[in-house]
Subunit: 297 residues, 2 copies
């Protein structure tokens, strides 16, 4: 029987959903609008790709995915805050995200900024509260550092800035790779390694997971560039052509559709290759890479 | 010889300054504007009260203040990010802070938002990289949780939201206490307890430090309300009367100047009282409380 990746991702996303429900402060406490606003964006129908990747790595390495849920969800909280801030009028000024009005369109810019700040801080709180097995404290501290690097100025935040600086300017391939690697790649990379660290991976395993994550993260983002041109507005939940509207350089604008998809395929091959050295059954990780290569939303 | 608190704070602030210099990413890397923007606000001449409090507690409990510098500086990075976001047009829309143009007036709103996000993330990175003595990992994780609670939606961010919701509205004493306790008190409380946790404080010592910190934090904030009316623009580095301009309820608007200063005095007495149970020489902590009660900037 072949592995059903779509089904796997669906069941894991449900686990993540339930965990996020527990980690997000309940509505009905003061100041309610803050908690509502955070919940609005966290439960706006994301794919939960980053937590699923963390769980997939934990599972592959024989760890307990239920115990690993806080580690998995931390990157989703970071991802969500980054979308809220990115959509602000001062940044990309987007009115819709996943088919729903963006956070600031509902709650106003000030609450949106603070909801983002709250989610970013909550990510570290949830992470620092993870129950680790005896002796696991050192690993949990490594996990926290991994998230801080992936999400911070050397990772996602740095990528956001580079992206902003190139709005309306032509970026060359190196710059585009820098932007993608930092803006989306770094957090995906962190999610994968955090799963490895949680499950007690060796340095060699972590290196192989890093190679897998970087390749897959870049493939994911180039696929995103492609979907922005050929995608289906309904499946994507946002207008296609939004990169064009923001005058952003993309792989498609630099290389065209066909060469861009070739790059996706090549990176996916390299992601598969990276897994070969691992002494585990890596079916799930292979399947996710293939799934992302062909995804339509 | 009496203890010279002003001199103590000056020398400790210098240590903090040098440490922040090491923790902040150097300029001259891409994207430079991000690192410049972060450095601009971090080195805009803050009093470094929160790190000094952390160091004072570590010193009082016999810990090594040099080893504790990352723990001390983390709250300053949080404090700085909160000022950058708070000054944004979408929030308080302030053009000046400590006598200098605010971050977004120099770098624009988008970079200011991202510099804030970067500093918030850096706080947890610096903290998670603290070198602890053997067996100190559990304590470092407690320190990280302490910061996340103090800075997040149950602390500072929640207070910011409450403050926003009451702009132009009259807040009663309970609400004003909620705002102050969360907006500024929670981070001061975290700074004090983080020092205690770093130095291996017992539960009893932590409780006493908590009482001290809450009283002192509220006294500090009421003194701030007073200075907004009677302060000297030059010493404060911001216009006096800015609370009035933002139509904010303050202790002074609710109780008048004289009763507000009485509250400062009473809270300071209670802060002193809280220290009495501690089996340490608490001269430094007493002096800081007295210093803050009478401060003019």
């Amino acid at each position: 029987m072949t592995f059903d990746c779509r089904e796997y991702m669906k069941t894991r996303a449900q686990l993540v959903e339930q965990a996020l429900e527990r980690y997000l402060p309940a509505s009905g406490q003061y100041p309610d609008i803050l908690f509502e606003s955070m919940r609005y964006s966290v439960f706006a129908g994301g794919k939960r790709l980053r937590p699923i990747l963390t769980l997939a790595v934990i599972e592959t390495l024989g760890g307990d995915i239920h115990d690993g849920l806080p580690v998995a969800c931390a990157t989703e909280l970071i991802h969500t805050y980054s979308l809220i801030h990115d959509d602000l009028p001062a940044m990309d000024n987007d009115d819709f995200r996943r088919g729903k009005p963006t956070n600031h369109k509902i709650y106003g810019d000030a609450i949106a900024i603070l909801a983002g700040d709250g989610l970013l801080t909550l990510a570290f709180q949830v992470l620092a509260e993870t129950k680790m097995p005896a002796g696991g404290e050192t690993r949990l501290l490594q996990i926290i550092r991994e998230l801080a690097y992936g999400a911070g100025v050397y990772g996602m935040v740095g990528g956001q800035v580079a992206d902003l600086l190139h709005e309306g300017k032509k970026a060359d391939e190196n710059m585009l790779a820098f932007i993608h690697k930092h803006k989306t790649g770094a957090l995906i990379h962190a999610a994968v390694r955090m799963g490895g660290l949680f499950a007690g991976a060796t340095e060699e395993t972590l290196s192989a997971l890093s190679r897998y994550a970087w390749r897959m993260g870049l493939a994911f983002q180039i696929r995103d560039d492609i979907l922005d041109i050929v995608g289906d507005t309904e499946k994507l939940g946002k207008k296609v052509g939004s990169d064009l509207a923001h005058d952003k350089s993309t792989y498609v604008s630099l290389f065209g559709l066909s060469e861009s998809q070739q790059k996706v395929n090549q990176l996916t091959d390299e992601a598969h290759e990276a897994l070969k050295t691992l002494p585990y059954d890596t079916t799930i990780l292979h399947s996710i890479a293939d799934y992302l290569m062909g995804r339509e939303s």
